[in-house]
């Protein structure tokens, strides 16, 4: 078979060395009664056949619209060098850096990624990655529980409803009380999201102060691209900053792989889940990097670990690091300004719809249309537009409410064309 090198001759030589007659003998420890009878697995396909088949499936997905779909996942421009560099096989075919001397590329990149996240958020420590933005909410909640030694989790209404659903699923069997609100009294933490799921930008500094007075933690779920402009979790006094990192270098990919970002303060670092790389030296005094504070992790602490996470999203963290490095200090700011300005421009073109946000927005906003949002969206689809997320479909709004996201990729002409089409469809 294609990916098995062993020839008939090899096999004979190996069996002879082992001292058995056939490969079957090596399965003798499986009780014969337990051997498989049959399965419904189709015959294999050549590489060429697989490629055609995948292309055929892909052709049944449509990615050629002008799209305003966001809702936590955004179509930002990914620089060409991100794929080129993260596609180097020394990165993607390696595993967790168990042998640091052979894994300095991985370890230094994690260290640099952690640094980038700290610089982005104004936090002190970041981990090497979590699974995604939703599981990061759960990890932040349990981390808060460990620190505050309380079991109430307050989820602010700004938080993505999917994250809330995921939190409930994950915590279903834990002794946690999950409430929606903003009262830190008696809570382990208050979890906020900025911008909110509906796109509103807020300053949670005052809430952070109230949290700290109440000995609760402030957890801020942020949108990485917004930090090219928006006040940071660190500046707001967050104890834990978390994010869905998709927007900084990950393709939309129908849901993954994405990147769970988590950062915290020095005082909390020993309660943080996930791998952490730290700088050190070798015997000759050369700088090197290792995984550190491993006593937090499952392979050492088992039942007492901070989390069960093992495989994480390291390659996505590398992509984020490359993405941020290519945009750099000024470019990253430029992207945020473009997103915001273009969104404001579109907003200005949608006078016929009611803006639902109760404050400024960054690059996404919710509107109430004169007609059901799903209806408008269906009609616009025919014209090549994905109009946005009908909020009722995710339980986050009325039938006529539509969540519209704009990125640096939208040209003014695209915004104009969309505004015109939406107006025509919605106001008929």
């Amino acid at each position: 078979m294609s990916w098995i090198p062993t020839t008939e001759t090899d096999q004979q030589a190996m069996l002879a060395a082992i001292g058995v007659d056939d490969v079957e003998a090596l399965f003798a420890s499986i009780p014969p009664s337990l051997r498989m009878q049959s399965w419904d697995i189709p015959a294999g396909m050549s590489e060429m056949g697989v490629r055609n088949h995948i292309a055929e499936l892909a052709s049944r997905n449509n990615v050629n619209h002008t799209s305003f779909l966001g809702g936590g996942y955004y179509d930002h421009y990914i620089p060409a060098a991100v794929d080129a560099l993260s596609g180097r096989s020394e990165f993607y075919t390696a595993y967790t850096p168990y042998q640091p001397e052979s894994s300095q590329g991985t370890l230094q990149s994690i260290y640099e990624y952690q640094s980038a996240i700290c610089r982005l958020t104004n936090m002190e420590f970041a981990n090497a990655s979590l699974y995604d933005g939703g599981t990061a909410v759960f990890e932040a909640a349990t981390m808060s529980v460990r620190i505050a030694r309380r079991n109430r989790i307050v989820v602010h209404p700004s938080v993505n409803p999917t994250y809330l659903a995921m939190l409930k699923t994950h915590a279903a069997n834990l002794d946690l009380e999950i409430v929606v609100g903003d009262d830190p009294e008696g809570a382990a933490c208050v979890i906020v999201q900025n911008p909110s799921f509906q796109g509103t930008v807020a300053d949670f500094t005052a809430l952070g102060e109230r949290c700290h007075e109440a000995k609760a933690l402030l957890v801020v779920s942020f949108y990485p691209v917004s930090l090219g402009m928006v006040k940071t979790p660190g500046e707001m006094g967050a104890d834990i900053a978390i994010a869905e990192g998709q927007s900084i270098g990950m393709p939309l990919g129908f849901g993954g792989p994405y990147l769970g970002i988590m950062a915290t303060l020095k005082k909390h670092v020993r309660k943080m889940p996930g791998r952490i790389a730290g700088e050190t030296k070798d015997q000759e005094g050369r700088r090197g990097f290792v995984l550190t504070l491993q006593a937090r992790e499952q392979h050492i602490r088992r039942t007492k670990a901070m989390s069960n996470i093992c495989s994480n999203q390291a390659l996505c963290a590398l992509r984020a690091l490359i993405h941020l490095s290519l945009w750099g200090k000024e470019g990253f700011k430029e992207v945020a300004i473009a997103c915001h300005s273009k969104a404001e421009y579109l907003k200005s073109r949608l006078g016929f719809a009611e803006i639902l946000n109760d404050g400024p927005t960054f690059n996404e906003f919710a509107v109430r249309l004169p007609i059901p949002a799903a209806e408008a969206a269906a009609e616009l689809l025919q014209e090549g537009f994905v109009a946005g997320l009908p909020l009722a479909d995710v339980g986050a709004g009325e039938a006529n409410d539509l969540l519209i996201a704009v990125t640096e990729k939208h040209s003014r002409e695209a915004l104009d064309a969309f505004a015109t089409a939406l107006e025509r469809v919605a106001c008929n």
């Binding site: 279903a172 928006v230 792989p257 945009w327």
Partner: protein
């Protein structure tokens, strides 16, 4: 090597956007950050060289044999990378699945998800599978949450404990605890497997389930697995299968047929998706009939000519925002479709052949941790060498100098000075021989040149690193 931040120069740029084609807007100052994030300021060429150099300080499967036990470091086919890079796959917005309006736009993805879940279930003799869990440990958590849901549904409120062998991977107990269970550890027998009597003694009424790895992390098939299942089921306890070692038995026997109720797959192991320096992986769960109603939702289900979403009635809900690490699943799907029926059976046969060949070549020189019957990996203890001052870690470092990645060492915790060697089926006899030759040469050096082993590695970009210093002078970010 310099940090990327040390290469930054004020004012230097790589990427720019075109001039803004709309009026520039700003948020109110009080909502803005005080200063721009100090991201690197570099030219593209220097970013490219930086990461090219970092890659050159790394070793992956494409470079060399990587026999990391329990991790199934098999070759990652290039066609799978091409599949995942298809724009129709990689650019697909996940919220297409959030609104019936957009269902028509992602039918290809639905078809793939549905067929992959079906084939995964079929491979393991399960009734259904869900791609939602993002990695193996996440699959374990999902699986134990499914167990919890089952017991809650059945009113088994007393069932609060999960039995886990001492040889199990650390994620097993950690996941069980995250799912709200107590954990009791069952010791392995001298032969490396679970003793039925010991198990029976532990199987009290409050046992909700048992998490097994089979073959276990000693590389041994749990001979009494069918009896364990029967006993467990007699007490309405559920059996969890840690699929990390599925590569040993794929096409030979199926967890479902063995009596397991719930399991996770590691697509980044058995199904050859890249390990990505630590992730992303993909850890689908599979369930037997018993747990079908509780599967995470929403699920892709057939609907006329196409597919739609539906959530099982008693679903535990969303464990991922959408369908897990979809683009990893696409790679695994490409792999599965390539091998198909006959091919998959060759996978396990050759994985087991390779491990036994290594065992045969090394067992005269290294001390086997168990009498034999190894399946896809073989486990030695370097205790005899350790008495001479050469530890498993020294052997590992010396392998690095000889151009190989090291096996897993010091895991499982049940074996002192453990060397856990998993070759996988994708390695040629020549590679296995070269590795064995290196291992034998190292064994000779234990007496002949012990200093060289302590000094190793000398051919890597850095030598052995001071882990104590790292933890003491905690420096985890350049600020």
């Amino acid at each position: 090597m310099q940090l990327i931040y040390e290469k930054s120069q004020p004012g230097r740029r790589a990427l720019r956007l075109d001039a803004l084609d709309v009026p520039a807007c700003a948020l109110p100052a009080e909502l803005c950050r005080a200063e721009a994030a100090t991201l690197p300021e570099m030219a593209e060429i220097d970013v490219v060289r930086h990461f090219t150099h970092l890659s050159q300080r790394n070793v992956g499967i494409d470079d060399t044999f990587y026999p990391l036990g329990s991790c199934t470091m098999k070759y990652n086919p290039k066609i799978a990378e091409v599949a995942a890079a298809e724009p129709g796959m990689s650019q697909l917005h996940p919220h297409f699945s959030s609104s019936p309006t957009y269902e028509s736009e992602c039918q290809g993805a639905y078809a793939l998800i549905h067929e992959l879940e079906r084939q995964l279930a079929e491979v393991a003799g399960m009734k259904a599978a869900s791609l939602q869990p993002i990695a193996g440990a996440h699959g374990e958590l999902t699986g134990t949450l499914l167990m919890a849901a089952y017991h809650k549904d059945k009113g088994n409120t007393h069932k609060d404990t999960i039995i886990i062998p001492d040889s199990a991977h650390g994620t097993n107990p950690a996941s069980a605890v995250m799912a709200g269970f107590k954990v009791v550890e069952i010791p392995s027998d001298a032969d490396g497997t679970i003793h039925l009597d010991a198990f029976e003694a532990m199987l009290t009424d409050n046992v909700a389930g048992i998490m097994l790895t089979c073959p276990n992390t000693h590389g041994l098939f749990e001979k009494d697995v069918a009896k364990i299942a029967k006993l467990a089921h007699s007490k309405d306890a559920l059996l969890y299968y840690d699929g990390a070692n599925l590569n040993a038995i794929v096409g030979q026997c199926r967890p479902g047929d063995l009596g397991f109720d719930v399991m996770h797959y590691n697509l980044h192991k058995t199904f050859a998706t890249p390990h990505g320096m630590g992730g992303p992986g993909c850890g689908p769960v599979g369930v037997s009939e018993r747990l079908l109603p509780y599967l995470p939702g929403p699920r892709v289900v057939p609907d006329g000519d196409g597919f739609t979403l539906a959530t099982p009635e008693k679903s535990i809900g969303r464990i991922a925002a959408f369908f897990g690490n979809y683009l990893i699943a696409v790679r695994a799907y490409a792999y599965l479709r390539h091998y198909g029926d006959a091919g998959l059976k060759e996978v396990s046969r050759n994985a087991v052949l390779n491990a036994n060949y290594i065992f045969a070549r090394l067992k005269g020189t290294y001390k086997a941790a168990f009498p034999g019957n190894f399946m896809h990996e073989c486990i030695f203890t370097a205790s005899p060498q350790a008495q001479k001052g050469i530890h498993a870690t020294d052997i590992a470092k010396s392998l690095l100098d000889r151009g190989f990645h090291a096996p897993t060492i010091y895991f499982p915790l049940t074996v002192k000075e453990c060397l856990m060697i998993e070759p996988t089926e994708t390695e040629s006899k020549e590679t296995l021989d070269a590795f064995c030759d290196a291992m034998l040469a190292i064994a000779e050096a234990v007496d002949a040149a012990p200093d060289s082993l302590h000094a190793a590695p000398v051919s890597t970009p850095v030598g052995r690193l001071d882990e104590v210093k790292a933890a003491r002078d905690l420096n985890c970010a350049c600020l």
